[in-house]
Each structure stands twice: as structure tokens, then as C-alpha cells.
Amino acid sequence: MQIVRLALASLFNRRFTAGLTILSVALSVMLFVGVEKVRQGARDSFERTISGTDLIVGARSSAINLVLYSVFRIGDATNNITWDSYQRVAERDDVAWTVPLSLGDSHRGFRVVGTTTEFFERYQYAGDQTLAFADGVVFSDLFDAVIGADVARELGYSVDDPIIVSHGLGDVSFTEHDDKPFRISGVLAQTGTPVDRSVHVSLEAIEAIHLGWQSGVQTPMSRMITPDQARQLNLRPNEITAFLVGMKSRVRTLQAQRDINTYRGEPLQAVIPGVALSQLWQVVGVAERALIAVSLFVVIAGLVSVLISILTSLNERRREMAILRSVGAGPRDVFWLLVSEAVLLAVLGSLLGLGLLYAGLGVAAPWINERYGVALTGLGPGLFDLYMVLGVAGAAFLLGAFPAWRAFRQSLADGLSIKL
């Protein structure tokens, strides 16, 4: 205890350089724990993207691809599926509800999703949260659209604004469905899911804007049909891209999945969202692990700065060691003095780093949640932080033993004589 108090006094005496060392440990710990917190938050948000849906059904490809285009709106469907197949599944006795999705068009980089009004009731995220309207209502007219929160904010749209859908998925499209403009009927509240970046219209509207198109190419016919004429037509789609399924009983999910996967009418694939999401996260996880590895190395660099600061001070502190020896300190006391200095620097640094991190998170968390939908709530100090402090202290102990051993040897050789 005496030795630790001496170490504290000695560090306080060198508070400027010791402060810099503490700061370098603090920054590295802050980075490491911060990366870990954000990673957890991102992972939680990721896994909370879709819930309440038991199966996602699309054309046969890979489970990851199906989840990517149907939920995350990334990439393209390999194929569409027929309305008949969709009806077959929808009419099963054990199916409670289905929500069809028709993809393939976009608006200034945001995906357009053709669906039914049921989508807004059935789609759930983050456990059991349902979609809410920040403004306006669900689409009722054929050319109504409901936009996500990011679309509204980034493009500055509000209810009743006109919106023109482009054919295809490019950011800049050369074929616009400008003969049939839409009107925004509603804006959804922020969810932190890909819904925020989607434009939702009815399935019939997708059919309507493609009237007179053949094989994805516009023919002169298309412009001859006015929006009002389109409203009179029967616009039941022949094809959709995918659909969400809710089962009456969870128990039936696996059976239904098997039936859909072996459906003879056309190659279909049904995936369980949770399973596909965790598969997908394993892919994303490589980047995540790289990030953790990099920040771990930063922590090691911080600890090495502790080592350097003690090693460089050793020579100028030979006199201090000789004085301590003269009043009765043993070489062991000298050893523990330096080890406890290293541990003190590391512990003070870790605590400062955690303090800075939580202060920063406290300020930034509401903004990050609002802006990116990554919920950093529930990321308060936890066991992980305790392990972090203990781990850094333990590493400092081991690293500090090296200069301490040198000082131990030095003080044995120097005795009471002090070299100037």
C-alpha cells in the first residue's frame, strides 16, 4: 500500500507526461469499447429489421439473396413468381396472412415497392413495433405513394407532393414513368429499417405504370393510356417478386417451408427470416471482426505507450531508486513501485476512456438513433467494461514487469551510489 501511494505521488509529480500517457490509453480504450458498442447496436438493429413474419417466399436462389432484395432492398431478384403460386400459398389453411411485394422500379435511388395496404399492418420490426405514419395516410388512389422517413428527409418531400417513378433500379434512369405521376399520400415514421428508404405503392400501380411495356421496354402504346383510363382497367398482376407469410401457428412454419420449397408448379424458395438474417450477419461479420482486430491493436499501442513512458523515465529515476533503497526499500519494492505505476496509468486511462465514451454516447445516441436508426440504448456500462478495465490493467501489469525488472537489476547493481 505504501508503494502504491508512492507511485501515485510520483505520477502526480510527473502529471503532464503521465497525463499524456493516460490520455493515449483512454483514447485507445474509448475506440475499442466504442467499436464494440456500435457493433452490438448495429447487430441488434440488423436483427430487429424484420419480425412477426414467419416466412419470406421468392423465386429459388440463395436464402441470403432473397432476404437482401426482399427485406434490405439490395440487389435484384433472379426471377419473379407467378400470381397463381402466390395464391396457392395464401390459401393454405395454416397461413394467417400474406403480403405480396413487387420490386424493380425506383425513385432517385430509392427502391419502389409494390404491395398491399396490409403491408403497413403486418410488417413488424424491433420485436413487435409496427409501422406508424408521421404524416398522411396509407395509399387509396391508384397513383398514391407512401414514402419512408429517409426518402422524405433526403428529398424534402411531404404529403401531396408529386413523385415520378423511374423504370429500373439505377440512381439515374433514362426511362421515367413520367406519363403517370404519383402523389404522396403518407410519410412513415423513422424505423431504422430499410422501410425508411423505400417508396410504397399499390401492386396495381406497378401494373399500371407498366401498361404497354413489353419485356421491360416501353412501347408507344404505354403513353396512350392515361392515368384515368388506367383506373378503369383490371390491374391484377400476373407476377410478383416475393411475399411475406404469417402462420396461424408457429409450429406449422417448418412444414409450410418444406411444402413451398418442393412446390412443383415453379421453383420457389421459403426462408425463415431469423435464420437468413444470422447467415447474412456471418457475411457482414468479417468486416466486424476486422474492425475489432484493428481497435484491439490500438489498445495494444496505447499500452505500449505506457511501457515507453516508464522505460524512458528509468534512467533519470535511478537517483530516486537509490534514495528509496537508502531508507530501507528492497529491490522488490522498486519492482512493485514501477509495476504499480504501469497499472495505475492503465486503470486511470481506461476509466477516463470509458467516461469519455459514455459522455460521447450520451450526447450522440439520440442523434444516431434519429439519423441512422441504430439504437444505442441499453449500451450503458456493463460487465464488458469491467472486463476491459481488468484486461487493460492485467496487460499493463505484464508489460510493466519488464521495466520493473530492469529497475530491480539496476538498483541491485547501483547500491547506494548515485550516478549523476
Binding site: 505504501q2 508512492l6 505521488a9 510520483s10 502526480f12 509529480n13 510527473r14 537517483r319 530516486e320 537509490a322 534514495i323 528509496l324 533503497r325 537508502s326 531508507v327 530501507g328 526499500a329 528492497g330 529491490p331 522488490r332 519494492d333 547500491g415 547506494l416 551510489s417 548515485i418 549523476l420
Partner: protein, 200 residues
């Protein structure tokens, strides 16, 4: 103890203080045979029974003046108890010794030690060597950085305090004029029988 530099003074002092061990022969201090003892035991004996004053830079810059004086009490319970018996608290004993050596007044006691003059620093070191009444005080040329006037006063104060507590004062100097102040003197060059290997 007199002797030109290189005559082995530092080595002898290291042997007496128990921080060095002889290659052969025996070292006995205050009736204890140091050679053959464990290092920790020698450290304990030094802490309890020996006070050391260096030539220069005696003080730890990160401790206050009082804490510097009290330092040996952190390493020896015997000296702590003797200091407590003398003044009731270690700080009071440190203050009393400093006052005896001419360092009193709260303004000087509050100064960081690096702001003290050399003479003041040496007196703080003397107080540290004296606290808890160790039986042996080793002073390794403690006055070589002081002017004559200061030197005489320092030696007088040190000798007086050592005598008051019955401590032996082992004083190292190359200044022959100081010899008359001590009861016994040794010229190290005369007694050093270590055969140095021929260098040429």
C-alpha cells in the same frame, strides 16, 4: 572516514548499509552479521537501524518536505514507533527535527523540495536520517556542496543531534580539516587491502 576518490569509500558504505555483499570475508554492523543474510533481511536492518545522507540530491521531488523526512517510517515499524513515542505523531516529529536543524516556519515547510537551497536540502536529509533514532548514521560527504560557514553549522547540528540520541555518526570526507571534530578517524587508503588485478 577519509580517502581520495577511487579508494573504495562508496563500496565500503554499500557493504555497511547492506546493499552490497562482499565476495569474501564478513561484514558485521551493530552486532549483526550482514554477510550471508538474505537481501530482504539486510533491507529490514538498514530501514530500522541506519540513516543515510548523500552528497547531493537527497530528496524525492514528488514528496513534500515533511513526507521526505518521514520516509524511513514507511519502511520500518521500529522507527515509526520511536518517532511516535518522541512526538506523538510522525509529522510532529519531522517538524521538530526540522526545527532543530533550523528549518521552521510554514512557508518553508510548504515549499516544493526542488525550490530549497542546497544547504536546506542537506538539512532535510539530515532530519530524515535522524528520524526514529537509528543507531548508525552514514553521511557520505554531505558538506562538499556547502560553503565553509554553512558546513561548520551543518556538522555541529548533525553531531549534536546524533549525540543526543546516542547514534553513531559515520562521516565520510576528503577534507582533513574536519578530522579534529570526530572521536575517531580512519584513512581508507591505509586499511584497504583489496588487491586490484594488474591492469597493464
Amino acid at each position: 572516514m577519509r580517502g581520495p576518490s577511487g579508494s573504495g569509500k562508496s563500496t565500503l558504505l554499500g557493504l555497511i548499509a547492506g546493499v552490497l555483499t562482499p565476495d569474501e570475508g564478513e561484514v558485521r554492523v551493530l552486532g549483526e552479521t550482514l554477510s550471508g543474510m538474505s537481501g530482504a533481511r539486510r533491507d529490514a536492518i538498514r530501514a530500522a537501524h541506519i540513516g543515510v545522507i548523500f552528497q547531493l540530491f537527497n530528496l524525492l521531488p514528488y514528496l513534500s518536505l515533511i513526507e521526505n523526512v518521514a520516509l524511513p517510517c514507511r519502511f520500518s515499524s521500529m522507527r515509526r514507533e520511536r518517532a511516535l513515542a518522541a512526538s506523538g505523531s510522525i509529522e510532529d516529529e519531522a517538524r521538530r527535527l526540522l526545527a532543530r536543524l533550523g528549518l521552521d516556519g510554514s512557508d518553508i515547510l510548504k515549499k516544493p523540495v526542488r525550490e530549497l537551497s542546497v544547504g536546506q536540502q542537506q538539512r532535510v536529509a539530515a532530519a530524515r536520517a535522524l528520524i526514529g533514532g537509528p543507531e548508525l548514521i552514514i553521511a557520505d560527504e554531505p558538506t562538499s556542496a556547502l560553503d565553509d560557514n554553512m558546513r561548520d553549522r551543518f556538522i555541529a547540528l548533525l553531531a549534536e543531534e546524533a549525540e543526543a540520541r546516542g547514534s553513531t555518526l559515520l562521516f565520510v570526507s576528503h577534507d582533513a580539516a574536519l578530522a579534529k571534530r570526530f572521536t575517531r578517524q580512519i584513512d581508507l587508503a591505509e586499511i584497504n587491502r583489496v588487491q586490484l588485478p594488474e591492469l597493464m
